[in-house]
């Protein structure tokens, strides 16, 4: 297993991370350093624990009663599961965008303003709404209809609104769990372009079952698979260009050439 070497640029790091649901070990011994301002893709067959790992990175697994971890996740060197750490603050610094766009049944404006208000944002709200919609490449399409219900937007627009909503609370990392799987190809490419723009300011981790998407859109790729005990493990991690042209591990090769199983 390769661990990323570029130590100084690591924003979040999983050390010997195992994740359990009750007594079932869903993910075992993951060592993964995520680089700042890069897009990191996590790929692998269904059920290998991609979403589980992603949710561990911002303590979303806390919502699952049976879930618990071994090992550590260090964000800027700080253990995010340490007792003194506030999970709400973790989720503010490390935002998440889901597979199915899930805007609130409110206006476009309120979708952005709501989270910011909850987080105690005191600045100019109009400005924040405009800036985040700009950053999510949605402003031009909605600026005349900010009062319109978010649910009236197309799927791709809704997903960009959800990205804007995540940006509004000023995170450092954006986690995306199959953010395009409900979108058509054009909307998908728009999100990928947006990810590229966002990576200038943010670090992005995307889980995708679409290998072409990982190849197109990411800088680094981590390949996960399932062991005989059904526990997910990381097989190989490296530059996306290397993983898709010269994978080192036979299991990676078999998966990305489509000869898995």
């Amino acid at each position: 297993m390769t661990t990323q070497t570029n130590e100084n640029n690591i924003i979040i790091q999983a050390n010997d991370l195992s994740i359990y649901y009750g007594s079932f070990r869903a993910v075992k011994n993951v060592n993964l350093g995520i680089q700042r301002n890069k897009i990191t893709a996590i790929i692998g067959p269904s059920g290998c624990g991609k979403s589980t790992v992603l949710r561990a990175f911002n303590r979303m697994n806390d919502f699952v009663q049976s879930a618990h971890n071994d090992g550590k996740i260090l964000f800027h060197g700080q253990d995010i599961y340490a007792p003194e750490v506030d999970p709400v603050q973790v989720r503010q610094m490390i935002g998440m965008v889901f597979q199915k766009p899930n805007p609130f049944p409110k206006s476009i404006y309120e979708n952005i303003a709501w989270g910011a208000r909850i987080n105690g944002y005191k600045g100019n709200m109009d400005e924040l709404v405009e800036n985040t919609l700009q950053a999510a490449a949605l402003w031009d399409e909605v600026k005349d209809n900010l009062k319109k219900s978010a649910l009236a937007l197309s799927g791709g627009q809704q997903q960009r609104l959800c990205i804007a909503r995540a940006l509004a609370v000023k995170p450092e990392i954006i986690l995306m769990d199959e953010p395009c799987s409900a979108l058509d190809p054009i909307a998908t490419l728009k999100i990928e372009d947006l990810m590229r723009e966002l990576s200038v300011k943010y670090s992005i981790i995307i889980v995708t079952h679409n290998m072409q998407q990982a190849a197109r859109a990411s800088d680094l790729t981590a390949f996960f698979t399932m062991d005989e005990d059904r526990a997910g493990l990381m097989v190989e991690y490296g530059e996306t260009s290397q993983i898709f042209t010269r994978p080192k591990d036979k299991r990676t090769e078999d998966y990305i050439t489509g000869r898995f199983g």
């Binding site: 898709f244 010269r246 990305i256 050439t257 489509g258 000869r259």
Partner: protein
Amino acid sequence: MPRDTLTRQIHHLLDEVLLLGSMVEQATLSAVDILRQRDLKAAATLYENDQLINDKRFAIENAILILIATQQPMAHDLRLLAATLEIITELERMGDYAKGIAKVTLQLKDADINIPNRDLERMASQAVNMLHRGLSAFVNEDPNEASAIAGEDAVVDDLYNHIYHHLVETMIANPATIDQYNQVMWVAHNLERMADRVTNICERTVFIATGDMLEMDTTDDEESDGE
């Protein structure tokens, strides 16, 4: 195992590459034989038939582009297809060398000169032998065999040097024949270049198998027109 379609199409493609290779082998051996017989009619036919090699190469290239566009090959499959694009280009250029030899035959007409046929035939058969085994190593993805074949290039180089010195001596002794012997020199030169290109194919074979690009023949940068 999934990806049966891609696997089947790649197999078919490799068969086509072998076919292209045998066309080149045949053209090379014939070109030297036709020169020995000074058969102008056969030389003209061989010159024309180079078009068949070009056509085959473009057909394979087209098939590869379609495979890349429709099957999104990755990793080993992708390296194989990219390398095959290179290899068919090498084969097509070897075809040009054979065509160049036919052209020499045509230009020499019935000029009364002593062509070192035996040595040229030895060069041709060595180069063709390397090509044949090189293509087998390619389809079998045998990097060890490929490396070994690349090393045999030295045999062709030695023959070339021998012919070269012999021809230079002949020209010095009889300056009136410089033009004709210069043509003969091109025949040897083309055969020598052909073996260089087999070496390139062997490098690609190692690349497909291992992902590492080895430069086995570093003296191969000069580009010369074989025709």
